[in-house]
């Protein structure tokens, strides 16, 4: 019971880090919005709708990072059997659904505004939709399997298989012809010069930092809650 109370009260160094992360992301949020709407120039070829890029790209980066964290935490859970790794996997999978949904929605709206269509079955879009289904599949396995270690093990296997999708999404524009431009961000970027203005790079960097801080805050907050949920389940099992 002391453990549950400690989790739920949220005192200690964990909560201080959470407050700092929240404050930093709130400040960066204001700076990012100022940069996107007032500071960065309008891209000549894509026009005003290109400003969606400053949300779409960071959301995509965090959506893919989530599945990597889910897979690593699941692997550690399978090796060690510790519930903290499973709680981290569950937390990042839940946030992964949120980010994957936003990648698809923001991309779809951008395509509608700029190209005139909502959806096309090209490689990058389809593999991102597959990522969304992997997250939803993971959470459904967890929701419908028995509570305890068996459900966690099933979920871990789904996560490990699902992680294969992350490099496929990233490399989709290299391996297949897609509606997306060639890679201009990341380790194997081939088309870095196409962005043109340094202001565009700086705005993208600040926006990515802001979303990464926000993501870290949300992971910590949700993880703390998930630990309490797990502890409460254990207490309920003791009472039953």
């Amino acid at each position: 019971m002391t453990e549950i109370t400690a989790h739920s009260s949220g005192m200690g160094i964990g909560s201080t880090i959470r407050y700092v992360l929240f404050a930093v992301s709130a400040i960066l949020m204001a700076v990012t919005l100022y940069m996107i709407f007032f500071w960065v120039p309008t891209e000549l070829n894509l026009g005003v709708s290109q400003r969606i890029f400053y949300f779409h790209v960071p959301l995509a980066w965090l959506g893919m990072l989530s599945i990597v964290i889910v897979a690593i935490a699941s692997l550690l859970h399978l090796i060690t059997g510790k519930s903290k790794w499973d709680d981290l996997a569950y937390t990042t999978a839940e946030l992964g659904v949120l980010f994957a949904t936003l990648i698809l929605v923001t991309g779809s709206i951008w395509a509608r505004g700029d190209l005139g269509w909502w959806w096309t079955w090209d490689a990058k879009l389809t593999t991102t939709l597959v990522l969304w289904f992997i997250y939803v599949g993971y959470l459904m396995v967890r929701a419908y399997s028995t509570k305890g270690s068996q459900g966690a093990r099933y979920g871990s296997v789904v996560a490990l298989i699902g992680a294969v999708d992350a490099p496929i999404i990233y490399m989709a524009t290299v391996w297949w012809r897609t509606a997306h431009p060639e890679l201009n961000v990341g380790p194997v970027a081939t088309d870095g010069d196409s962005i043109g203005s340094a202001n565009i790079y700086i705005t993208l960097l600040v926006s990515t930092l802001m979303f990464t801080f926000l993501y870290a805050y949300m992971v910590m907050e949700r993880y703390s809650m998930r630990r309490t949920e797990t502890a409460l389940d254990e207490v309920h099992q003791m009472f039953d």
């Binding site: 949120l98 923001t106 009472f239």
Partner: protein, 73 residues
């Protein structure tokens, strides 16, 4: 030469007008993205805060159940 300059300027100005018109027509999509993104984040945080309230109630109920058990024994 002067005619060519005027023609170029006119073409440039009409291009700018087209760009501005296109920009204005794209604005609702841009705002839709920003509104939806923040609405989803706030919705998620609201859902978390509700879940936290439920858990607090659950913890208090468990505390009361434990206290009852101890007084009975």
């Amino acid at each position: 030469m002067a005619v060519q300059l005027v023609a170029t300027r006119t073409a440039f100005a009409s291009g700018m007008v087209q760009q501005n018109l296109r920009g204005e027509s794209e604005l609702p999509w841009l705002f839709a993205v920003y509104i939806i993104t923040w609405a989803v984040f706030f919705g998620y945080i609201f859902m978390l805060s509700r879940r936290q309230r439920e858990m607090r109630r659950e913890i208090n109920a468990l505390k009361r159940a434990l206290a009852d058990r101890e007084t009975k024994s």
